[in-house]
Amino acid sequence: MTTKTLGGLSPVVSLTIGVATMVAALGFALVVGETRIPLDVIWNVLRFEFGFMAPKVNPIDHGILWSYRLPRAIVAMACGMSLALSGVVLQALLRNPLSDPYILGLSAGASTGAVAVAILGFGAGALTLSGGAFIGAMLAFGFVAWLARLARGNSGTATSSLALLLAGVAGAQLFHALTALIIAKSADANQARGIMFWMMGNLSGSRWPDVYLAVPIALAGAGVIFAHFRALDAMTFGREAAQTMGIRTGLVMAVLLSVTALLTAVMVSLTGAIGFVGLVVPHAMRFLVGVRHVRLIPATALAGGIFLILADIGARVLIPGQTLPIGVVTALVGAPTFAVILVRSSRAHSG
């Protein structure tokens, strides 16, 4: 059996399609919302903000578009890109198709770290929300890796794959519980963003300063990850095989796992823990462009951004008059995908 992949298209054409789709998704995010804003008003706001002559529009419409919908969509894009790329990296390095920052507890750890800074004052002001989230994410990953190693013992790869997932479940639950505990215990709970925010994610609070943090981090992370595409390919047959192909696997793992933790931490500190993006998007893209990382990484970055922009639109409009946590939307898509991958990968093991 052979699948037809988009690999046949030239890189320029595929990238153009991807970027055009992303711009269209951003445009769609501007159009859709509770307040109906006509297209010509949107057009005039964009022209005005980019320094062209444009007729003045209603300041309320202007505010909704420029201060609310657009930064929110851009943060969604950067967040989707980061989480999806983190999934690609974790799946390749840990040789486990079900790996993703949410499932392995990184997101939960990042939430705990951010909450510890925001509510407990951890770090005494020297630590930003993102910094706390990074420490939390690293702690959670360390805990999960340690637990997986203990659970695996000396048994084979099939059990080590299972051990990692179960350790991830344990880690995620533990750190979610810590987050809930800190929020519940704090006298100031009303001021803090709620438990739901840290567990399911929400982009309602996203403004331009968030964009200025999220976009550079996402692009820098994507750059570092792309620079390692050959090392990630070489991991196809495991770490030892990659070593025999001249890859410094220890160094590559250290760099890329740190980048993953950083991407996850920054995005979680801005949007809360959004699940399943790192799982759904890379698998869909493997189906579309194949498993080689030189194509998979750009495809996943673009598709991750598009996916989360659309998921956020869904979160805003699925229930009229109410904003869903975006994690609810991604989980509705992601959980069935998880099930499909689980069944297929267990068949691959037994076959």
Binding site: N96, P97, E240, T244, G246, R248, V291
Partner: protein, 256 residues
């Protein structure tokens, strides 16, 4: 390339796996590592491949210590076909073979026409030219093994290490692999279970409990006085002139 193994010792979790193993293989020669299960064959291969830090001694290829070379330089010279390397990725055969070019590529030197020719030649040598678009995970164990060998071939190393390369192969492909080893210009070290295959090599090293029990030509080493005490079997050499070397047959040891 000339390989020198010099007093190599390795202990894993307090248990000595290799004890003062020393030998030399000249450039272009082939060496069969034989020995009972757990005698240290795989560990020795991994030590030669630079994958395993060793406590004492040194492995050098053409005078350079393998643990001092950069991984990339080492991979350009030395290729290793490990046992049963699997994947969960839906990778196609040609893509898998192309991975062998990894140590030669960089941003400045992307995969080019010459790399493609090397990959195609490797696939022809392993008779998998028509399978390029098949999925690796849909192949039989023997076919997977040939993909791995083709992958390491496209690495164009001067030293090949193979850990039980004829496992999982049917007789025809076993003979093809052994014949390929015989006609290699590269230096080859392989771990073997089928002692008859060792006749194809220039040298045979017998490992027993981590020590080098015997080293020499197949004619010298594959004899009852060496094999019987180590493998605890009775050995009989049958003349088989049509294949050009004796055929060994084994029976339960007479001395318990």
């Amino acid at each position: 390339m000339h390989i020198q193994v010099d007093n190599v010792s390795k202990t894993i979790q307090g248990k000595p796996i290799l004890r003062d193993v020393s030998f030399t293989i000249e450039s272009g020669q082939s060496l069969a590592l034989i020995g009972p299960n757990g005698s240290g064959k795989s560990t020795l291969l991994r030590a030669i491949a630079g994958l395993l830090p060793i406590e004492r001694g040194a492995v050098t290829i053409d005078g350079e210590r393998v643990d001092k070379l950069s991984p990339r330089k080492l991979a350009q010279r030395l290729g290793f076909v490990t046992q049963e390397a699997g994947t969960t990725d839906a990778i196609q055969v040609m893509e898998a073979v192309k991975l062998g070019r990894t140590p030669w590529l960089s941003f400045a030197a992307p995969f080019g026409h010459r790399d493609q020719q090397i990959v195609e030649k490797a696939m022809r040598e392993m008779a998998i030219s028509d399978d390029g678009h098949k999925f690796f995970n849909a192949l039989s164990g023997g076919e997977k093994q040939r993909v791995h060998i083709a992958r390491v071939l496209s690495q164009t190393p001067e030293v090949f290490l193979l850990d039980e390369p004829t496992n999982h192969l049917d007789i025809r492909h076993q003979i093809a692999i052994i014949d390929w080893i015989k006609h290699q210009d590269a230096t080859v070290v392989l771990a073997l279970h089928d002692l008859n295959h060792a006749f194809a090599c220039d040298r045979v090293a017998v490992l027993d409990g981590g020590t080098l029990a015997a080293f020499g030509s197949p004619e010298e080493v594959l004899v009852a006085s060496v094999i019987e005490p180590i493998f605890q079997v009775a050995l009989h050499r049958n003349s088989a002139e049509h294949i050009g070397h004796p055929v060994l047959t084994f029976a339960k040891s007479k001395v318990a």
